[in-house]
């Protein structure tokens, strides 16, 4: 089973991203389950969403306590929640982070896939400067660090186009750019 935990903030689209990712794996012939952690989320407040991917239907429901990979939609979340909770040493973390910078304490312990998603989102006119929509951008970065079970890039981009309510091509293009530009730092 592949367990994915996504950390976002209300309004950033973590829940939509989890559904898109689940759908992409489904297109690859796998069984999937995606669900949000319900809360009193507000725009800006921390939220989480989970995806289970397996070769057979998932029986467990609820939170994934030991995820195989974490996706963090916003660097501010590092202050708000422990995104590494239950994550094995060296496991991948996909993180939206400013270009050229590295969160060293995380880099020492985990494999990081860093992407300046805010910048890419703004370039592709996804959201505004005050509130860029970066969920699909981060998914592009995710592709680079999770190999098993295989997920074809084109499958993901197609799932993105199908899964977003608007600006379908822009979202897919942004994800594509993120896939090209992601910086992967193996645990040192």
């Amino acid at each position: 089973m592949l367990g994915i935990r996504m950390h976002g903030r209300g309004g950033q689209g973590a829940v939509v991203a989890s559904k898109i990712l689940a759908k992409a794996y489904f297109k690859e012939g796998l069984f999937v389950q995606a669900f949000p952690a319900f809360g009193m989320e507000r725009r800006g407040a921390a939220v989480a969403a989970y995806v289970r991917v397996d070769s057979s239907p998932a029986l467990a429901r609820g939170e994934i306590v030991n995820p195989d990979v974490c996706v963090v939609l916003d660097p501010k979340l590092l202050e708000m929640v422990d995104v590494t909770a239950g994550l094995a040493p060296g496991a991948p973390i996909v993180l939206n982070y400013a270009e050229g910078q590295v969160p060293q304490d995380l880099a020492d312990r985990f494999t990081l896939a860093l992407i300046d998603a805010n910048q890419i989102a703004v370039n592709h006119r996804l959201g505004s400067r005050l509130a860029p929509i970066i969920n699909t951008v981060v998914l592009g970065a995710y592709l680079k660090v999770v190999q098993e079970p295989p997920l074809q890039p084109e499958t993901l981009f197609q799932a993105i186009e199908e899964g977003v309510p608007a600006k379908k091509q822009e979202n897919a293009a942004a994800a594509r750019e993120a896939y090209e530009r992601v910086r992967v730092l193996e645990k040192s």
Partner: protein
């Protein structure tokens, strides 16, 4: 020496309202005037979900969070209790959104108003059920997108005229205000505070989340609504004396509609209908205000 522009500050930071929340601002302004001797009674809606995370609260006045339909009557109970305890000077502020006022709470509100219960009732109107994720209320304007009025099934009915309903109860004071004009808003709360009986304030509280505008535009959108007359500002005394609040020159409603994603799907003919609706209401309102001025 300079002193703070809002002296009471009965709203503590740290609340869970969305960034740019208009309803939070309205509360700041209303409590600035009413002061610490105020009891707030609020039903389900955005506010009670962000007023606190038990056992913490963001308001420095007592608050009762009550079931959705009950605002005005729970407030009446509070009023009766305070009167019985000789605390007639404590303000009782019934505080509900448009859903809690126009829809589910209307019966209790009418019940309280008919008895001229000594409360100040503020409806912070964000024109939909925002807390549950943007569903149509009877305060939603025509042509406006909500999750229950999608582009495939738009709302065609005009916004319910809650002010006329309340004025028909002949209560001492009914007024509209906008979060975009805090001074006017606070002046009207001051007027309401100086009266006894049921006082009703209908306050436009923009919602960046539900209206689909940038968070920084909260006050600007609420000003535009007033300027285009989609939300005119006026007062009604005793249900009979109507008076317009002086307003700047009229702007086209498209200025207002274009600022917000919730009106994006409106066609040109729908916009025209909207403009006509606004114009007709405005003329009717002017008539009422003019008649009383002549009298």
């Amino acid at each position: 020496m300079n002193s703070k522009i809002l002296k009471q500050e009965l709203l503590a930071p740290g609340h869970m309202g969305c960034p740019g929340c208009g309803a939070s601002l309205v509360m700041r302004y209303v409590l600035e005037v009413l002061g610490p001797k105020t009891m707030v009674v609020m039903p389900a809606g955005c506010w009670p979900t962000f007023v606190g995370l038990y056992p913490s609260t963001c308001l420095r006045v007592p608050v009762m969070s009550v079931p959705f339909a009950t605002t005005a009557m729970a407030a009446a109970g509070v009023r009766a209790s305070l009167n019985r305890q000789g605390k007639g000077e404590t303000n009782v502020l019934a505080w509900a959104g448009d859903g809690g006022t126009f829809d589910i709470g209307l019966q209790a509100l009418s019940g309280a108003a008919e008895k001229n219960t000594d409360i100040i009732y503020v409806c912070y109107d964000n024109e939909a059920y925002m807390n549950t994720g943007i569903q149509r209320s009877s305060a939603t304007p025509p042509g406006c997108w909500t999750t229950t009025t999608p582009a495939s099934a738009p709302k065609v009915e005009p916004k319910k005229n809650i002010v006329e309903i309340m004025a028909a109860h002949r209560i001492p004071y009914v007024a509209t205000a906008s979060v975009g004009y805090p001074r006017d808003l606070m002046d009207k709360v001051e007027k309401a505070k100086g009266l006894k009986g049921t006082r009703f304030l209908h306050i436009l509280a923009s919602c960046p989340t539900g209206w689909r505008h940038d968070t920084e535009l909260t006050m600007e959108v609420a000003r535009k609504a007033v300027q285009c007359r989609a939300f005119p500002l006026y007062e009604v005394w005793d249900g009979v004396r109507w008076s317009l609040t002086p307003m700047a020159a009229k702007t086209p409603v498209t200025d207002y509609l274009n600022m917000q994603g919730r009106f994006k799907a409106m066609s040109a003919p729908q916009r025209e209908v909207f403009q006509n609706w606004v114009d007709e209401d405005w003329e009717r309102l002017r008539g009422k205000c003019g008649d009383t001025q002549a009298a």
